[in-house]
């Protein structure tokens, strides 16, 4: 798409959309929203970039392969935090009992592992959105590229 208005508006809008998504993720334990909502906002912003410019520009910023790796690393971060609690001698995803420092309730850096888990969910959801879009747009030849 070669529309100047769409390009400039989306270029102006993108930082604010992504900042808001990051805000929703990082305040997931304090305010409405969380990993899923914030990840959906960030994923939608990346789809907006790939749509308003073209797919080559979008894949230059975040390639299909990178988004697939990010997708797995998000879920690995979640499981890793759970396994860390097992290593510390408690249940899976044990938080305060495992000795993970809990700040004062209401502060940004509080609730121990929950914040990191929410961040992992956010990465996972955002990269899932963009991977879905790439897979749907690219078609067959792009799909083979992923497996190599």
């Amino acid at each position: 798409m070669e529309d100047v208005i769409v390009r400039y508006i989306s270029r102006m809008l993108l930082p604010f959309v992504q900042l808001y998504g990051l805000y929703v993720i990082l305040n997931g334990h304090l305010s409405p929203g969380g990993g899923f909502s914030g990840g959906a906002i960030i994923g939608a912003s990346m789809i907006l970039y790939a749509l308003s410019f073209n797919l080559e520009e979008g894949t230059k910023k975040l390639s299909h392969k990178t988004s697939t790796i990010l997708e797995s690393s998000g879920v690995l971060l979640y499981a890793g935090m759970g396994l860390l609690s097992i290593l510390l001698g408690t249940n899976f995803l044990g938080n305060k009992v495992a000795g993970i420092p809990i700040g004062t309730p209401g502060n940004l850096f509080s609730s121990g592992a929950i914040m990191i888990i929410t961040f992992g969910v956010g990465i996972k959801v955002a990269s899932t959105m963009i991977t879905l879009f790439y897979s749907l747009i690219e078609g067959e030849e792009g799909h083979e590229d992923v497996h190599h």
Binding site: V24, P32, G33, G34, F36, S37, A40, I41, G43, A44, I47, L51, M129, L132, F133, L136, I137, G139
Partner: protein, 79 residues
């Protein structure tokens, strides 16, 4: 005042849902469905569920519409 707004939005929601089901043009149906999601997001906010409202606005009005339009671009526009 808020009740009047809620009823207006609910009527609009029903009209949107019926016209999505009745539309023969799939692209028009997808765009009406985006409007449905947007009204649904406002209604979630009025029902004091801001968490769901954020998700509905980002997913229902944004990503779902884009994925369905991409699917239409790969197939036919008319039903």
């Amino acid at each position: 005042m808020t009740e009047v707004l809620t009823y207006l939005l609910l009527i609009f929601l029903v009209v949107c849902a019926i016209s999505v089901a009745r539309s023969r043009d799939l692209l028009a149906a997808v765009i009406i469905f985006a409007a449905y999601s947007l009204v649904m997001a406002i209604l979630w906010q009025l029902l004091a569920a801001p968490d769901v409202a954020i998700t509905e606005a980002a997913l229902g009005a944004g990503v779902t519409t884009l994925l369905l339009i991409a699917a239409i671009a790969k197939t036919r526009r008319q039903e």
